[in-house]
């Protein structure tokens, strides 16, 4: 009898197909499903959280509010904060803010060129941004934008989404381990959250613009404010829009001007100089 070892048959033990095919199928299929799932979960969680009564949110955020309130301020900084509060009250009335929702404006003596709205209607305005804004209208636009976030219950919705998606993701990563696929899943799940965040910014911009125009008669402050913010976030030219929490500034200014034109609001107008309290705080005195 003659024996031989025949050459093994190829493609029995491994697939003779292009590796990019499986890659494409998995990326589109698995990561697409993750993104879709996160989008749905985020949507419902956000809707649900946005329906929690504002009083409950405020109670939940009580310690946060207290911390902001207890920040030590110099008399000049306190004056600036009070000026911001007066301006905020004017804008809130113009928005208008429903009676059950209230904002607490805080001033932070930090160089950050930004302002933020967080849970419990707390708004923080940083010295760094105030320092760069040259008119009351520009300050008002930033304030109105943050008040609009509160009015639209964005901080609550964002937290609801973040918690819901984060919980599911952590359960998934316990199962999948810290692997490359796990990282990819995290990235895919964050994309819809970023989309929601950009949508929130656009909605807040639009609502803020209406309040701004009702108080000052024109939309000029909006462009000023975003120009300053875009300079602070320099290098925006190279940014990928879908990976950002905020829409790119060019788009925001374009949308605001379009909204102003559509409503027949003057895009530009006379600027009001900053109230003295804000000017001296901004100058760091």
């Amino acid at each position: 009898m003659r024996f031989e070892n025949r050459a093994p048959e190829e493609t029995v033990n491994y697939a003779d197909e292009h590796p990019l095919k499986e890659f494409a199928l998995l990326v589109v299929g698995v990561l697409g499903a993750v993104a879709l799932g996160a989008a749905l979960l985020g949507f419902f969680a956000g809707e649900l959280a946005g329906r929690v009564p504002f009083a409950t949110e405020r109670e939940y955020a009580a310690s946060l509010t207290e911390r902001f309130e207890q920040a030590k301020l110099t008399p000049a900084q306190r004056d600036a904060r009070d000026a911001l509060r007066a301006l905020a009250a004017k804008l809130a009335a113009a928005m208008p803010l429903p009676p059950d929702i209230a904002v607490s404006v805080h001033y932070a003596d930090e160089p950050t060129v930004n302002a933020m709205a967080t849970l419990g209607g707390n708004l923080v305005f940083y010295r760094g941004l105030l320092h760069k804004l040259e008119s009351e209208e520009a300050v008002a636009m930033v304030l109105a934008h943050e008040i609009a976030h509160v009015r639209l219950r964005h901080p609550a919705a964002a937290m609801g989404r973040g918690v819901a998606v984060g919980l599911v993701l952590s359960a998934v990563s316990v199962g999948a381990g810290r692997s490359l696929g796990g990282d990819a899943v995290q990235r895919a799940a964050v994309l819809p959250l970023l989309k929601y965040s950009r949508d929130q910014e656009r909605d807040a911009d639009e609502l803020a613009l209406g309040a701004l125009v009702r108080v000052y008669g024109h939309a000029g402050g909006a462009t000023d404010a975003f120009t300053v913010l875009s300079q602070a976030a320099k290098g925006e030219a190279g940014r990928v829009a879908i990976l950002q929490t905020h829409p790119l500034t060019g788009e925001r200014i374009g949308l605001l001007q379009a909204a102003a034109r559509q409503n027949g609001w003057p895009v530009d107008g006379m600027r009001t100089p900053l109230p003295p309290a804000l000017r001296s705080a901004a100058a760091g005195k």
């Binding site: 031989e4 070892n5 499986e22 990561l31 490359l180």
Partner: protein, 162 residues
Amino acid sequence: MSWVDYLDWIVFLTLLAVGYFAGRAAESRHFASIRKREKELAKVLAFATKYPPAAHLPQQVRLVSGSAVVGSDYFKQFVASLRTLIGGRMKSYESLLDRARREAILRMKEEARRHGYRLVVNVKIESSNITGGNRGGLPAVEAFAYGTALKPVAPAEPDRAV
């Protein structure tokens, strides 16, 4: 500020591309080499049977073995880790194991040939994950082939013949 923001994406996509191109080049080179050497070593026979052919008795025996470690690449690992989420054929690792097994058998046959053997019986293949299943560690697989090489006892020398 701008491109640094995307450093993690840049690193990830670069590793993926390097893994893909380098891994694919290495794999096709390895397969070509395996096929060539399988032809060269076709005369050394390897069988799983425990029972040597009767014609080979009496015989000389020798344990022969071959081991091969093949590393995965970033691309294969990425595809495989997505695959673990939904299950199914882990195609990206199948070729890796195929290469490791065939390489191990070739090295075993090479050892047998070096010592003048043309037949190996009772061949077994074992494989192990040499990274010890560390999470996040790059997988590398070892295949180990071993068997009993046989050759007929050399005819007695004429001057010592009885």
